[in-house]
Symmetry: C2
């Protein structure tokens, strides 16, 4: 029996169903994320995915109705995971943290997940522009949700008077996310620690957004 793309576990709850079958499915998704993040949408061949998942290409069809269904799941779960991760981090912060402190935390959360954990995230980020409409729509929905979390972060800063008045908040948000997203394109472990990237990014974002300090 071929099962219709079953609900994939969230990051927080990585799957109640931990059968051998579920693990194989996960292995295929992981492989697809890996290839997708490196080769792009059109460059992702099922044979490559299969090789990395250590099985034959047709076996993929036992778990996914089509190549595009597989890709779609990788794409949206990449962003969904990012959002879940970010929200979990923010929720753990406690109420005494300033709005700008929360933005610092968000910068770190985004960078760490992107750089150290997830092929899903980079697959999702890099291919956002290239996938066909069918796949894209669901991903756009996830992106919008993620953007909303950030919009709130910046709005809170603004309301606390911690945002330069000469910034367009939406543009500022996109520029920040761009700086973070792009990190996956150039960072490698060989060139400095993630910690150093996080630190510099936090400093730049904080000072880029904050009004001039009045001495």
């Amino acid at each position: 029996m071929v099962r219709k793309s079953a609900t994939r576990g969230t990051l927080v709850d990585p799957g109640l169903t931990d059968t051998k079958s579920a693990r194989t499915r996960e292995r295929i998704l992981d492989a697809a994320a890996y290839i997708l993040s490196r080769k792009g949408y059109s460059g992702t061949r099922l044979s490559d995915v299969a090789e990395r998942a250590e099985l034959q290409a047709p076996a993929i069809y036992y778990y996914f109705p089509s190549r595009d269904d597989l890709v779609e799941e990788v794409m949206w779960s990449g962003i969904a995971t990012m959002r879940e991760h970010l929200i979990a981090v923010l929720d753990a912060l406690g109420p005494e943290i300033t709005p700008m402190g929360r933005i610092d935390a968000a910068v770190e959360a985004h960078l760490r997940l992107e750089l150290e954990i997830s092929d899903y995230t980079t697959a999702s980020i890099r291919n956002a522009g290239q996938v066909p409409e069918k796949i894209r729509s669901r991903q756009i929905a996830e992106e919008a949700k993620y953007g909303t979390v950030w919009r709130k972060l910046i709005q809170d800063a603004s309301e606390a008077g911690d945002l330069r008045p000469d910034l367009d908040p939406r543009i500022a948000r996109m520029l920040v996310l761009g700086a973070l997203n792009w990190a996956a394109e150039w960072w490698t472990p060989r060139r400095g620690s993630i910690q150093s990237v996080v630190k510099t990014a936090q400093t730049m974002v904080r000072n880029g957004l904050s009004p001039d300090s009045r001495g």
Copy 2:
């Protein structure tokens, strides 16, 4: 006679040879840049390029030895154009401009070329990670040259005492370029003018890089 990829004119000097043939070649390159920036490396089909250039796919082989040669030229000329553009803008600035003022100008130059002019630039930016090694190497060389211009901009600011000491200059540079590069992914004319993007980007970069103002 098939000519080996002839030297493409620079931005400043768009080709001494303005024959009908040269124009057709240009049309093919333009079409390839357009498709490449939207569909990615593997997704770029010669038939699509041909359609946009208003000829049949095999005609492309009269001007380029292979698909990859065509792609390669788009990819490196995208960055080369960006660098020429940036250098031209900087050279026009005059010596009284501060290092940070020059960075402002660079931010504007980068954004304007990326957003208003060039499919080449976005093709080059977006597909940097996906093209095969053969193509990539030449592009990496161009990227390095472009990075050098920016490195100098930031170094000059640093030597003038206009750079926060707690920033890693290389990381800061990559974060700035990331914010700028990413703009192509979200900006559309419908959502605000380029001018507003430029202004917000300049403000954020300037304040992100500058030491705290002592009042």
